[in-house]
Amino acid sequence: MNDINWGLIGPLLALQLLLAVIGLISLAKAEQVRGPRWMWVLFLVFGNLLGSIAYFTLGRRDL
């Protein structure tokens, strides 16, 4: 596993990061969210793809 091909994996990681950043921006701007904000921060930062999907579909009140 030492020879990770970053050219292949890189775009995937960049997209995951992009999703988390969009989620955090949206969370910062949202007036109301379901549940505590810190929980959604944890979801977005550590929850990978499913955490971000959960925030965007369930966390936002104004879809």
Partner: protein, 255 residues
Amino acid sequence: MRKLWTLYRRELLEAVRSYRLIWVPVVFIILGIMQPLVAYYMPDILAASSNAPAALLESYELPGAATVMAQALGQYGTIGMLVLALAAMNSLAGERHSGTAELLMAKPLSPVSIVAAKWAAHLTVLLLAVGLGTAGAAYYTALLMGHLSWSAVAAASLLYALWLLCAVSLTLFFSAWLRGPAAAALALLLAAGMSLVQSLLPAQTGWLPAALPGLSAAVLAGGAAEAGPVICALLLIIACITGASLQTGRHKLPN
């Protein structure tokens, strides 16, 4: 027509404000490129994550390009459909609860144009997501697994997009009556039920829209498409828009 265009622009702006126009396509691209990557790195993943027997690792064969591409589209049938239904569930239900629906209906707008504009905005998000997602998946698959027929990929992704559009239209239809989450749940259950019936009785139910994913995989493998499920899906979508418009029209205040 001009009113419809204005309403469509309003819906698209709403999709941008709720970040739906960005996050849904990004999720689809991630799902799409993950599949070929996981298939390619499967021996490494198995070796790193468990004590898999060496014989299993030795015997692992890299799946063919068409297979991996069909698997990537299969991701859209599960997680992708869930995401689309959840993203669409509040578009009519939310306006009814916030009172925007009455406000809209007080204007000289036909219910059909309101529903059609919402549907068209969801279609835009869907096409963007499936288009970018399959492009990413096809790029990685061609890079890692080998040659793919680009016209087959385009046809297969369009067939899959039509199946997803059925689920989105059903969600929109139910959200004219029910609260958002209930509408999404009902639409997903109906889609899952259709898929189940179709897989149990493939010979009798080849015309169901649920046959579209199978058709899409067949096209990828070099087969030909059938018209039955496509026509049936289009009829279902038209019925959904009509039904949702009729129900939305009832919110018109009596003059």
